[in-house]
């Protein structure tokens, strides 16, 4: 009897101790899993709660998200774009910290679905097909922009947004902006800084592009072979110096 009372006492005592502890652990877990918290919209938080509870029983959230992702791939093969969008949304709801769910989900919408609507659309005229294509591009952009709040430290989604603005919306200014942000992230490939310069040129901001390339060149004295491809950067600078009629004494490459 004494032992049972002791067991009950221990259970109650432990319950009182563990609750605040679990609350603090949950807060830390949320921070780790969903970022800073403040950057996540309340709507998204609510949806996440529902999405997470789907696979919560059993704790196999990753496997459930993979299943959805494989279903997305099937829908993609069948060109069922609304299903692709639904599966992409569900996948990111279940595992928002998997960067490629956002990146490839957006690629499916902004490239595959959009191109399919534009060139293979069965209904409507050109304007209607263009409108549909634009709608998918915007859906992809929306997905990437939401993904940024979960992955502010990675270059992938900034790069994907740069690609989207360049290739799908021909907005080279925004593309340059995102490539610059991507290039500044740890582990970013060196070619992203060149993409930013090229986007500035495409946007018609040749003076800005020239200043940008020049700053890159003067930022180091090591212009040997390597991933930063100084030979390519030198070509860009030479080309812009000619196009902008830079006076000889101010040219970085006078000859």
């Amino acid at each position: 009897m004494n032992c049972r009372l002791a067991a009950l006492g221990l259970l109650l005592l432990w319950g009182g101790v563990k609750l605040p502890w679990e609350k603090s652990l949950a807060a830390q877990r949320e921070r780790v899993m969903y970022g800073a918290g403040a950057s996540v919209s309340p709507q998204l938080r609510d949806s996440l709660g529902q999405g997470l509870s789907m696979a919560a029983l059993g704790g196999f959230r990753g496997v459930a998200a993979n299943f959805l992702w494989i279903s997305l791939t099937e829908a993609w093969q069948e060109r069922q774009w609304s299903r692709v969008q639904t599966y992409a949304e569900l996948s990111v709801l279940l595992q928002p910290r998997v960067v490629f769910f956002w990146e490839m989900g957006a690629w499916n919408l902004a490239w595959n679905a959009s191109m399919d609507a534009q060139y293979n659309g069965r209904t409507g005229g050109i304007s209607s097909r263009n409108r549909d294509a634009r709608m998918w591009v915007e859906a992809g952009r929306d997905l990437l922009e939401r993904g940024l709040s979960f992955h502010p430290e990675k270059y992938n989604l900034y790069r994907a947004l740069g690609d989207l603005y360049w290739q799908r919306l021909q907005d080279y200014n925004r593309a340059a902006e995102y490539y610059l942000l991507a290039a500044a992230k740890p582990g970013a490939p060196a070619y992203l800084e060149r993409f930013a310069g090229r986007a500035l040129e495409e946007a018609g901001r040749k003076q800005d592009a020239y200043v940008y390339w020049k700053t890159l060149w003067l930022g180091t004295t090591d212009h040997g072979p390597g991933p930063r491809r100084w030979d390519v950067i030198e070509k860009r600078i030479r080309k812009l110096e000619t196009e902008l009629n830079i006076p000889l004494e101010k040219k970085l490459f006078p000859r």
Binding site: L19, W21, K23, A26, V32, S53, G59, F100, A190
Partner: protein, 289 residues
């Protein structure tokens, strides 16, 4: 004073007995097939393939651990009573809490052993995946990969040889420590194996929703009726929060989890396990055999 020798002798005996169960090898074989089979996800990008592989592998390890913990712990006391071996053990100078502790350590040794075997197989699968992904890139580049190819190789290698996977394995092991302790606790109260398995599974599933119950109980999701609140409060009070171990998914996804957070989860696991074992010992002390 508890005797470490006695506890270890019981643990050794439990491990040996468990290793003799044929069903264990069937479960292990199933897990190994699943681990090997997870390598056959192809026609996806390497990020997708690595994620599928890791998720499936950890699910296989987790499921195996859970099954073994359930099967072995459920038979812990009921089977000993049925075979009457428990009377022989307890008629010797063995205290009941030493018996419980020894049984638990034996089961954990078994689970640890299985995890080591499965992790070793998983490491080989990961290595073969890395080789199968990198070789074509190197061949295409004729030994001189360009910048993008190097980037891809770096990313593939980072996925394959991610030290975070060890962190995930430790967290998974910690989760199984609590599940096994729960099974041991139920085996001290019940006489039926089915009851023990069902109760442990129930707590396991509810434990994954405990954080949700706690949020609602604390009023974060708006007002609820008193009886629902009482039920949710009881769940929050009695059931462990298994979502603490959902960090495993984050690690597998390639995200960095601060060591301090992992350490706190491990400390939580330690104390939770100790409390469950103490409860088991107290209940078993009073039990009529």
């Amino acid at each position: 004073m508890p005797s470490l020798d006695r506890i270890l002798a019981i643990a050794r005996n439990t491990l040996t007995e468990s290793l003799r169960q044929r069903v264990l090898y069937v479960v292990l074989l199933f897990a190994l097939v699943m681990l090997g089979g997870s390598n056959f996800f192809t026609r996806f990008t390497f990020q997708e393939e690595f994620k599928f592989l890791k998720d499936l592998a950890y699910a296989a390890i987790s499921m195996t651990g859970l099954l073994v913990a359930l099967m072995s712990a459920a038979q812990l006391i009921p089977a000993e009573m049925e075979k009457r071996t428990i009377y022989t053990v307890l008629s010797k100078p063995v205290r009941r809490y030493e018996f419980i502790l020894g049984k638990y350590l034996g089961l954990m040794a078994l689970i640890t052993l299985l995890m080591v075997v499965m992790s070793a197989v998983f490491a080989v699968v990961l290595w073969s995946k890395e080789v199968s992904q990198v070789s074509p890139i190197l061949q295409a580049a004729q030994g001189h990969p360009n910048e993008e190819q190097w980037q891809a190789i770096r990313e593939i290698r980072a996925q394959a040889y991610d030290p975070g996977l060890l962190q995930a394995a430790v967290l998974l092991w910690a989760k199984l420590c609590v599940v096994t302790a729960l099974s041991v606790l139920f085996s001290t109260v019940a006489t039926s194996t089915v009851f023990i398995v069902c109760m442990t599974l129930l707590v396991y599933f509810v434990g994954h929703l405990q954080s949700l119950a706690r949020e609602i109980w604390l009023g974060r999701a708006g007002p609820v009726e008193w009886y629902k609140k009482a039920l949710l409060g009881t769940v929050s009070f009695l059931v462990p929060d298994f979502q603490n171990y959902s960090l495993i998914d984050e690690v597998i996804a390639g995200n960095r989890i601060p060591g301090a957070v992992t350490l706190q989860v491990l400390v939580y696991t330690f104390f939770y396990t100790m409390v469950l074992l103490a409860l088991s010992a107290l209940i078993f002390e009073d039990r009529e055999l």
